[in-house]
C-alpha cells in the first residue's frame, strides 16, 4: 500500500497532507487549488517537497529524513497528464514503446497487443499525435503509461481537457484499467461523477489538507464534506441489473430495493455504481402516493448538516445504502427532520445521468 505524507510551504499556500492508497483507484478529490496536482507531482518527483515520505513497503520514492529523493526517471511510474503530452515527433507505436524501452528487463510487463486492444488504438499505430483527436490522444497516453511497466499509475485530471462526449469515451477505459490491471492508480479529479464511478478510495482535499479519506461510499456519503462544492454533493449506491423493460427502463436491485433507471447498456446481473446527486433527491415523511417519480427509498436520517446558505444536507441510511439529500433549512424545520427520523427519499428516474453510472470495481 502506497503511503504518502508531505509538507511543503509555497509561501501563501501550505501543503500538509498524508494519506494511504490501497490497491485500486485512489482519487484525490478537491476543488482547483486544493493541492491535488502538487501531490501527484511530488509523487512523480517533478516537485521535491521540503519534508515528506512516499513509500510502498520497501519501495521508497522519497524520505527526506533519510535523505532519499529518487529522481523522476528512477521512480517507475506511469503518468497520464491532463494534456496527454505525447511526443509529437514519434508515431503512436513509438510513443507506446517509449516507456517500455527504459523499463528494467525483468519488470512485469503488460502485453502490448492486449493493451492496444483494450484501448482500441490498433488502427492509430502509424499515425502521429497531431493526427489524433483529443480522446484518441488520451487513450494513447494511457497506453504509453501502462506499457512503461509502472509500479503505480498517476493520472492528473486526464479528462479535464476533453468535451463531455470524449469524457464519456475515456472514462470506461479507466474503469477497465482499475478492474483488469493490477497496477494501483492515483487519480486527480474535481468531478464528482468521475470520483463516484472510479474511486476505490477517496482522499478529500481542501486548501492543502486532507479532510477525509476512506472507501468511496463512506467519503461521498459524508454530509460534512463537499470537496467538489455544494452542487457536487451526492452519495454512491451499488446496484445490480435485474432486467430491461420494454418501455426503455432498466430495473436494478440495491439492498433488496428496486431502482428504475433510464436504459443502461449492460446485461442483467451486471453490478453498477450509481451516483445520486443530493439536489435530485426529494424527502417525504410519509410514503408518497400518486407521484411520477418511480424510486422511493425508505430510510432513517443518520446525520444532518446545515450549510451557510439556505440549504441543508441530510444523510439517510436506506437498505440500498447511504443517500444524501439537499433540501432547504425551511423544509427541514417544517418537516421536523432530525437524526433518527424515518423518511422516504424520492429519486426521479430521469434525474440519474448516464455519466453518473459506472461499472463496479
Amino acid at each position: 500500500m502506497l503511503e504518502v505524507s508531505l509538507t511543503h510551504d509555497f509561501g501563501g499556500f501550505k501543503l500538509d497532507a498524508a494519506f494511504k492508497a490501497p490497491p485500486g483507484v485512489t482519487v484525490l478529490f478537491g476543488r482547483s487549488g486544493s493541492g491535488k496536482t502538487t501531490i501527484v507531482n511530488a509523487v512523480a518527483g517533478l516537485l521535491m517537497p521540503q519534508h515528506g515520505r512516499i513509500a510502498s513497503g520497501d519501495w521508497v520514492l522519497l524520505d527526506t529524513d533519510r535523505n532519499i529523493r529518487l529522481r523522476p526517471h528512477k521512480r517507475r511510474l506511469g503518468y497520464v497528464f491532463q494534456e496527454g503530452r505525447l511526443f509529437p515527433h514519434l508515431s503512436v507505436r513509438q510513443n507506446l514503446a517509449y516507456g517500455a524501452w527504459f523499463a528494467p528487463k525483468d519488470a512485469p510487463r503488460e502485453n502490448t497487443a492486449r493493451v492496444v486492444d483494450m484501448l482500441g488504438i490498433g488502427p492509430l499505430m502509424d499515425r502521429r499525435p497531431a493526427a489524433l483527436s483529443g480522446g484518441e490522444k488520451q487513450r494513447v497516453a494511457i497506453g504509453r503509461a501502462l506499457l512503461s511497466a509502472p509500479k503505480l499509475i498517476l493520472a492528473d485530471e486526464p479528462l479535464a481537457a476533453l468535451d463531455d462526449a470524449r469524457k464519456a469515451e475515456i472514462l470506461p477505459y479507466f474503469e477497465r484499467l482499475r478492474d483488469e490491471v493490477s497496477v494501483p492508480i492515483l487519480y486527480v479529479s474535481h468531478s464528482a461523477s468521475e470520483v463516484a464511478r472510479l474511486a476505490t478510495t477517496v482522499v478529500a482535499l481542501d486548501n492543502g489538507r486532507v479532510m477525509a479519506q476512506g472507501p468511496a461510499a463512506d467519503v461521498l456519503g459524508n454530509p460534512q464534506l463537499r470537496p467538489g462544492g455544494a452542487r457536487d454533493v451526492g452519495a454512491v449506491l451499488t446496484a445490480r441489473i435485474l432486467r430491461h423493460h420494454d418501455d426503455g427502463l432498466t430495473e436494478l436491485e440495491a439492498g433488496g430495493l428496486p431502482l428504475f433507471l433510464p436504459h443502461v447498456t449492460a446485461s442483467p446481473g451486471t453490478g453498477l455504481r450509481i451516483r445520486i446527486a443530493a439536489h435530485d433527491v426529494i424527502l417525504s415523511r410519509d410514503r408518497p402516493q400518486g407521484l411520477s417519480a418511480l424510486n422511493i427509498l425508505p430510510g432513517t436520517i443518520a446525520e444532518m448538516r446545515a450549510g451557510d446558505g439556505p440549504g441543508a444536507i441530510v444523510a439517510l441510511d436506506t437498505a440500498a445504502g447511504r443517500v444524501l439529500a439537499r433540501v432547504t433549512r425551511r423544509s427541514a424545520n417544517a418537516m421536523g427532520l432530525a437524526p433518527g427520523v424515518q423518511v422516504h427519499a424520492v429519486i426521479k428516474t430521469v434525474a440519474v445521468a448516464a455519466t453518473d453510472i459506472g461499472a463496479v470495481g
Partner: protein, 231 residues
C-alpha cells in the same frame, strides 16, 4: 567548373569549402552544448558565457583575429601548448578554420538556443516520468524536436564561415593554398592590375553558395518541422 575558374581561383574555392566544413562540423557539438546550457541551465556566470559567445558578433573582426593570434600564435599561451602536441594553427588552413568557427559561433548558438527554448519542458518531464535519464531525455526528445533550429544554425554558420575575412586575414594572413579563402582571394585579386575578372568569378561563386545554403536550410527546416511537429 575547373575550366571556368582558374587554378588560383579554384584553389581558393576548394579551401573555403574545406575550412568552412570543418569549422562548422567541429564547432557543432560545442554549439549545441552551449545553446542547451544557455537555454535550460541556471548557473553562475551564465551572462558572462552569453557575452563571450556573442563577442565576435560585436567586436571588429580584426580585433577577434588579433586576439586569436595572441592566444593561438606560436608564442601565445594556448598556441605553445598546442605546438607541443604538434598542432600549429597560425598561418595554416586549420587556423583559418578556427577563425571561421569563432566568428560563426554566435549565429549557430543563437539559432540552436531558440529552437531548444521552443521545446516544451512538459514533454521533457513526460519523458523523465517514463524512465528516461536526463541524457536520454535530451537525445530522444530535446534534440529531435530542436532539429530544425539545429540545421538552420549549422547552415547559417557554414555560410558565415564561407564569408569570413577580417579575423582570418589578421590571424592566419593570406597565403595561397593555406589561408587564402574566397574573401581573401577577392581582396588579393583586387590589389593587382587585371584581377577584376577573377574577383568577379569568385563573387559569383560566393553569391551562389550563399543562396544555395539559404534555400537548403529553408527546405530541410520545413521538412523536419513537418516531421517533428506535424504543424
Amino acid at each position: 567548373m575547373q575550366d571556368w575558374l582558374g587554378p588560383a581561383e579554384w584553389q581558393a574555392v576548394a579551401l573555403s569549402l574545406r575550412v568552412s566544413f570543418w569549422a562548422t562540423l567541429a564547432s557543432l557539438p560545442l554549439g549545441i552544448l552551449v545553446a542547451y546550457a544557455l537555454a535550460r541551465w541556471r548557473f553562475p556566470g551564465k551572462q558572462v558565457l552569453n557575452g563571450l559567445v556573442h563577442l565576435p558578433l560585436i567586436l571588429p573582426p580584426v580585433v577577434t583575429g588579433y586576439v586569436l593570434l595572441l592566444t593561438f600564435g606560436t608564442q601565445g599561451p594556448l598556441g605553445r601548448i598546442l605546438a607541443d602536441w604538434g598542432v600549429v594553427l597560425a598561418f595554416r588552413w586549420t587556423g583559418a578554420a578556427v577563425a571561421a568557427a569563432v566568428m560563426a559561433f554566435p549565429l549557430m548558438v543563437r539559432a540552436i538556443r531558440l529552437s531548444i527554448e521552443a521545446v516544451d519542458p512538459k514533454l521533457e518531464q513526460a519523458s523523465a516520468t517514463l524512465g528516461a535519464s536526463p541524457l536520454w531525455v535530451f537525445l530522444t526528445v530535446t534534440l529531435p524536436m530542436a532539429l530544425p533550429g539545429i540545421i538552420a544554425g549549422t547552415i547559417l554558420a557554414f555560410a558565415k564561415a564561407m564569408g569570413e575575412f577580417g579575423a582570418t586575414i589578421t590571424f592566419v594572413s593570406n597565403i595561397p593554398g593555406q589561408t587564402r579563402t574566397i574573401p581573401s582571394a577577392i581582396y588579393a585579386f583586387l590589389q593587382v592590375p587585371g584581377g577584376e575578372a577573377s574577383a568577379m568569378r569568385l563573387v559569383i561563386v560566393s553569391v551562389v553558395v550563399a543562396m544555395a545554403a539559404l534555400l537548403l536550410s529553408e527546405l530541410i527546416g520545413r521538412r523536419v518541422a513537418a516531421r517533428v511537429g506535424g504543424t
